[in-house]
Symmetry: C2
Subunit: 110 residues, 2 copies
């Protein structure tokens, strides 16, 4: 019943992924943790959402991937923002701001 972790709205996941990667190279599993932690546990990205999204995003050229071994000795697929991806992040942040503003305006109405 009590659900303290809201589902994402469609369209926000890409932005979150790109933002997480803008803080540095990261693998998929780590993105989920980083997003959850940065949002104070409010945003919980499901694996079944993330991996398909990463695939889409990679196809679009916004991130590049490579397999590597990290300090713990485990293999993981590391993603990095491309230049295009960084631009896309800016675009999506601007759209987000626009939308938040627009909705705020509607909500101000009396």
């Amino acid at each position: 019943m009590a659900k303290d972790k809201a589902d994402l709205l469609q369209g926000t996941l890409d932005m979150l992924i790109l933002k997480a990667l803008s803080l540095g190279e990261l693998h998929g599993y780590g993105m989920i943790q980083r997003i959850r932690q940065l949002s104070d546990e409010m945003l919980n990205v499901e694996q079944g959402s993330l991996y398909p999204a990463l695939y889409r995003i990679e196809q679009k050229g916004w991130v590049s991937a490579r397999w590597d071994v990290h300090e713990t000795g485990r293999e993981a697929k590391f993603y990095k923002l491309t230049r295009t991806g960084r631009k896309q992040l800016e675009t999506e942040e601007a759209s987000w701001d626009r939308l938040v503003l627009a909705i705020a305006k509607v909500r101000q109405a009396t």
Copy 2:
């Protein structure tokens, strides 16, 4: 090419409709105009989105509808918020605020 009206994010339409109706009884076509106007032309709800949404929302009991003639002499289907609908609006506004906050937190990160 230049697209100055962004698509809505999924999940925001119900809130916008409920909000528009919280300002007073209204028919479908009028909601589109009211939302567009209140948002300074930023939010454009398509008819193909609105009418199915109204149907869903009515099924959930958040609005009630009746046919009537308005001052211009034309017939239209007027929708009104129910008590449940008003509660739902509060809930959705709270979720929205939560989401905006959570995303803001992620974006603050350095």
